[in-house]
């Protein structure tokens, strides 16, 4: 099996006149977590989107398992799950249907897989309700069920605990603990410390 390690070397990215990412270096290996902090607009989301290849760098490179990810983006993407701050759910579909279509594009799922994931995030009771009837925190839990279902070694999470209650925060912490225990890699942009067992590494971004 390939070594699980994401490395970024002097990432530079401009948005118009703003130098959003100014020479960022990072390295996160198997079983490690990196918490990216920084004020609003300091480029946390941009960093995550750059790491997963949605945004093209002006300079620098991103390596996964020692290989430049831009050389084979589809292969890299099959190793990554990215969760943005908006849960990618359709209001008119039920939680279960949403997961079926969202995650199903990557890997085949059985109904039992989806039930297990929904139960894991405490969403078992409203898995068959249209997402439009769910609260923001409930939607977030469904999105987290999607993250587990992808079963990917690298998690890129943009403020995964937004809108969650105390129990929900704990849930995010324990999901991340589980991922780290399975030798996964987690990079999360956060405002508040996530309740994870192992002390995470930190990267502070300063506003450009």
């Amino acid at each position: 099996m390939l070594e699980r390690r994401i490395q970024a070397e002097h990432l530079h990215l401009w948005r118009g006149e703003r130098h959003v990412l100014a020479g960022i270096d990072l390295e996160v290996g198997a079983g490690e977590m990196l918490q990216v902090t920084g004020a609003n607009g300091s480029g946390k989301t941009t960093l995550l989107r750059t790491l997963c290849g949605l945004m093209r760098l002006e300079d620098g490179r991103v390596l996964w398992s020692g290989r430049n990810v831009y050389e084979d983006l589809p292969a890299f993407h099959s190793q990554v799950v990215y969760l943005g701050h908006e849960p990618p759910l359709k209001a008119d579909l039920t939680a279960r249907e949403n997961l079926h279509y969202w995650v199903g594009i990557r890997r085949s799922l059985s109904a039992a897989d989806i039930t297990a994931a929904l139960t894991r995030v405490g969403a078992g009771a409203w898995g068959d309700q249209p997402v439009r009837t769910l609260s923001a925190g409930q939607k977030r839990r469904v999105a987290l069920a999607g993250v587990i279902l992808f079963d990917a070694p690298l998690w890129l999470l943009d403020e995964p605990a937004t809108n969650l209650d105390g129990a929900g925060q704990q849930l995010v912490g324990s999901l991340i603990d589980g991922q780290l225990a399975a030798a996964g890699v987690v990079i999360a942009a956060v405002h508040q410390e996530l309740p994870v067992r192992s002390a995470p590494r930190r990267l502070e971004l300063s506003a450009a």
């Binding site: 997963c52 290849g53 949605l54 945004m55 093209r56 589809p74 292969a75 890299f76 993407h77 099959s78 990554v80 799950v81 990215y82 943005g84 908006e86 849960p87 990618p88 759910l89 359709k90 008119d92 579909l93 249907e97 279509y101 969202w102 199903g104 594009i105 990557r106 890997r107 085949s108 249209p130």
Partner: protein, 226 residues
Amino acid sequence: MSTSALQAAWLILARDLRLAVRRRGQFVQPLAFFAIVTTLFPLSISPELARLREIASGVLWVAALLAALLALEFLFRDDARDGTLEQYALSGQSLTWLVFAKTTAHWLLTGVPLALMAPLAGLSLGVPYAALAGIIAPIALGTLVLSLIGAIGAALTLGVRRSGVLLTLLTLPLAMPVLIFGAQATDLAIRGASFAAPLYLLSAMAVLGVTLAPLAASAAVRISLE
């Protein structure tokens, strides 16, 4: 087990069709528009069928073209808003296939219903029964080409707020060949002549569109996500 590109495309098609069933209003709009426009002509010109028959092909095609353009805005918009498009781009699947699936779903939801409704409008404009095939087939093919061309425009204008007018301006010039040959096919059918030649040309455009448009649209989607 990982999903194959074809399975993924099928899932997207199924998802879009299911969403359309849950949210019918959006897809009834272009059809209602088409029905309204085509019924206004007899009211405003003359109820004389002989005169209406003269202009029927033009009326049907202009109305179908505008209705198809009206529906284009919805093609990627909702998926772009809630981050679904982002997830498609990160799915590890070929985005071209996924965009093709979305475009096909769009055609099934707008083009095919238009092609099925057009004969009714045609009858009210004095088109003889024998010529109805000359309405259904060209409009079905023509709207397929329009959906494919429109997908490029819709993807290019994703980053633009209130993109409707810009999208129309971008797509309309490229849609002219469809209008010209489509209207000609219908006109020939109404006159009782063979409409095979313009239909072949429309088919050729459809083949070209199926091959190239998803490539261009998926590239445009990627740019919009940056």
